[in-house]
Amino acid sequence: MDLRFTDEEIAFRQEVRDFIAKELPAETRERMVAGRSPTKQQVVDWQRKLNARGWAAPEWPKEAGGPGWTLAQRYIFREELQQAPAPSPLGFNINMCGPVIIEFGTEEQKRKYLPRMLNLDDWWCQGFSEPGAGSDLAGLKTRAVREGDHYVVNGQKTWTTLAQHADWIFLLVRTDPAAKKQEGISFLLCDMKTPGITVRPIITIEGGHEVNEVFFDDVKIPAENLVGEENRGWDCAKFLLGNERFGQARVGASRERIRRLKVIAQESMDGGRPLMEDPDFRRKVTEIEVELKALEMTVMRVIATESKRKDKKPDPATSVLKIKGTEIQQMCSELLMKAAGPYAWADGDPDEEDGSNEVDVAPDWAFGLAGVYFNWRKQSIYGGSNEIQRNIMAKAFLGL
């Protein structure tokens, strides 16, 4: 048992850190420090810088355009991005659709899509969830009927994150309605410019536009856009979802939030002294720091185990990472809001490109923090709600 990073890994961390320090635009960083999402252009620019360096897809194999890193390197890389903070490589491209194509796609599909994914020439989005399906993903109803060399798709997807930016969508459709629930599903790729697609924004409670409904009305998708076999799309979905091994822990991101929290709580006065000196507030911050340290060690355990695993089954510890990771992130957002006090409550979409504290109704460091808190309640709902994670642990791991 040796619980430290190797010298090579420590050197690698420095290399990543130096790269970020040199290449990350200050504006992107500042926007993210304020708790806002980077703009589309900021994400694209950054992805291209990573791609130029060969770092666009940390988890991809070398032959597909990845850097060929060990798990520890991937972890270090992502952690450094998160705590910079810098945008992560676009998840839809790099962690969702890309790996599915690498695993199940034809050579033709690989050639066509992967390089453009890496360079963010195409922005992808995910068409999985449907209204009414919720945690029961396999209950999806969107139909695809084969007609000649096309599928004709009808139905509706929802919670489609950043569909408004997307050039392409990968989606699950039902190709055999007579089959049992998980069977009869196929995995398709679709150009968002195809006639019959309508994107309608869903505005979330804090006022942001991050997710969408996507309607398919007789949308013709070329049959060559099928990934894997027809009616075997659930394999792709399971692979994609199971692929998420330690990404939901977001240790680096939470560390960055705690740093920020400490700065804000030092600015914010309470009872005549900085809030950070209030024993109760300080205790709360310390408690998340402790949880985060334990989570970091749990991630490292998962990585160490993963490197030796042969099967591709999801690790039960993944649920621990999801539950604790999201609880910590939500708690950070709550403490940030609390730290800002009444000045957190000015309404404004934190993701608006123009910002909205221009009339100066709050100190800049406080503005919009309630919105982030409200928005982050989603974290315990999506990606397999934390209740679903507990079901998984009880059944798959404890055998209850």
């Binding site: 409670i205 914010s268 309470d270």
Partner: protein
């Protein structure tokens, strides 16, 4: 000991419930929010007709003669429909300052205007450094002839953008965090030296950032050298009303959640049939019932004469209500799942209102500290 409403109280409850039932559907509310004021003048005039705007004033001066229980009744309905009108600012806070701090002459002038809905009031108290300390006041009031001239900056002035008069705390003497030397002044919101920047708050209400540059007070409320006890009393009365608002909102969002759990299907059955979610709903009910009890305690204590006991009671109220509101709000969203994350669904709006309600005049964490520093509720023995 009797928790039943009197006949008159029941009538009051029914009439407010009927009005808001008709006027405060979710779509109607959205309409008010988008209007220029951010709330409904029509509803406001119906408040006036029902006597809600004269609620706390004596019948002899054209009021309804209501006490803390009547305020609780109305506040609960306001929470149930998460209304947007400036009732809390104008009637509970503004009315409180008029009742406890205004000269007879000023009352004669203003009470009828407030009761009829012509006069809107807002409380300009928060400052950038003050957080939740009512005595942390940097804004100054300087004597100038018979009057007072005010300079400073106030933030999060709830409904400050539509108010006709601002009730401003300002320092007449002493250092920024001294308890003595604070005065309460009435200022014409449209008068010279007052600049307001209105904005919407996260819970859909309105507030303003207010700059006061040589603004002249139109009246003084209470003792200009020692106004803090007056402020404390009015804020305590408002805390009791906020408790009612929170209970109404918790009840509404809990009902909504239970209904959703009965209809929403997952894995082939209503999600309300899952025991883990049932227990969550039961815990929410425990939190709600404990808060309802505490809102009665708040109404009882609002009239407490001893200010130390009254402040302690209100601190306890804030702690219980704030903790419950957080739990019920967060879990309502969680049990709904994604749908409650959208602005088109009511549950999230209740969650936001409950979040802000907790923090108004200090959140549960603030008051648990206050209460623990002053010895708590139970004496050692």
């Amino acid at each position: 000991m009797d928790f039943d409403l009197t006949e008159e109280q029941r009538l009051l409850q029914d009439s407010v419930a009927r009005l808001l039932g008709n006027k405060y559907g979710f779509e109607q509310r959205k309409g008010y929010m988008k209007s220029a004021d951010g709330w409904s003048r029509e509803v406001w005039s119906q408040y006036a007709e029902l006597g809600l705007l004269g609620l706390p004033f004596g019948e002899d001066e054209g009021g309804f003669g209501g006490g803390p229980v009547e305020t609780l009744i109305v506040a609960e309905q306001i929470g149930r429909y998460i209304t947007l009108e400036p009732w809390m600012s104008t009637v509970v806070i503004g009315g409180g300052f008029l009742r406890h701090g205004a000269s007879q002459e000023l009352r004669n002038e203003l009470v009828p205007q407030v009761a009829s809905g012509e006069m809107l009031l807002a409380f300009a108290q928060v400052e950038r450094q003050s957080r939740y300390d009512l005595f942390d006041v940097a804004t100054t009031a300087k004597k100038d002839g018979d009057g007072w001239v005010i300079n400073g900056r106030k933030g999060y002035v709830v409904h400050g953008d539509s108010a006709d008069r601002l009730i401003v705390t300002a320092r007449t003497a002493g250092d920024r965090r001294e308890r003595k030397g604070i005065g309460v002044f009435l200022v014409d919101a449209k008068g010279p030296g007052v600049e307001r920047r209105g904005y919407r708050t996260v819970d859909g209400q309105r507030a303003a950032e207010v700059e006061l540059s040589g603004a002249r007070a139109v009246a003084v409320l209470g003792n200009p050298e020692d106004g803090l006890p007056l402020v404390d009393q009015v804020v305590d009365e408002c805390i009791a009303a906020l408790a009612g608002e929170a209970v109404g909102a918790m009840q509404a969002v809990h009902d909504m959640t239970i209904d959703y759990m009965k209809t929403r299907q997952q894995f082939g059955r209503p999600i309300g049939s899952f025991q883990a979610l049932q227990h969550r709903a039961a815990d929410m009910l425990v939190a709600l019932e404990q808060s309802r009890s505490m809102s009665y305690f708040a109404a009882m204590s609002a009239a407490e004469r001893n200010p130390v006991e009254r402040r302690k009671a209100m601190a306890a109220v804030k702690v219980q209500i704030g903790r419950s509101a957080r739990f019920v709000g967060q879990q309502s969203v969680q049990l709904h799942g994604g749908i409650a994350m959208t602005i088109e669904y009511a549950a999230g709006h209740y969650f936001k209102r409950l979040t802000v309600n907790d923090a108004m005049f200090g959140d549960a964490d603030h008051y648990v500290r206050d209460l623990s520093e002053t010895g708590g509720l139970v004496a050692a023995a």
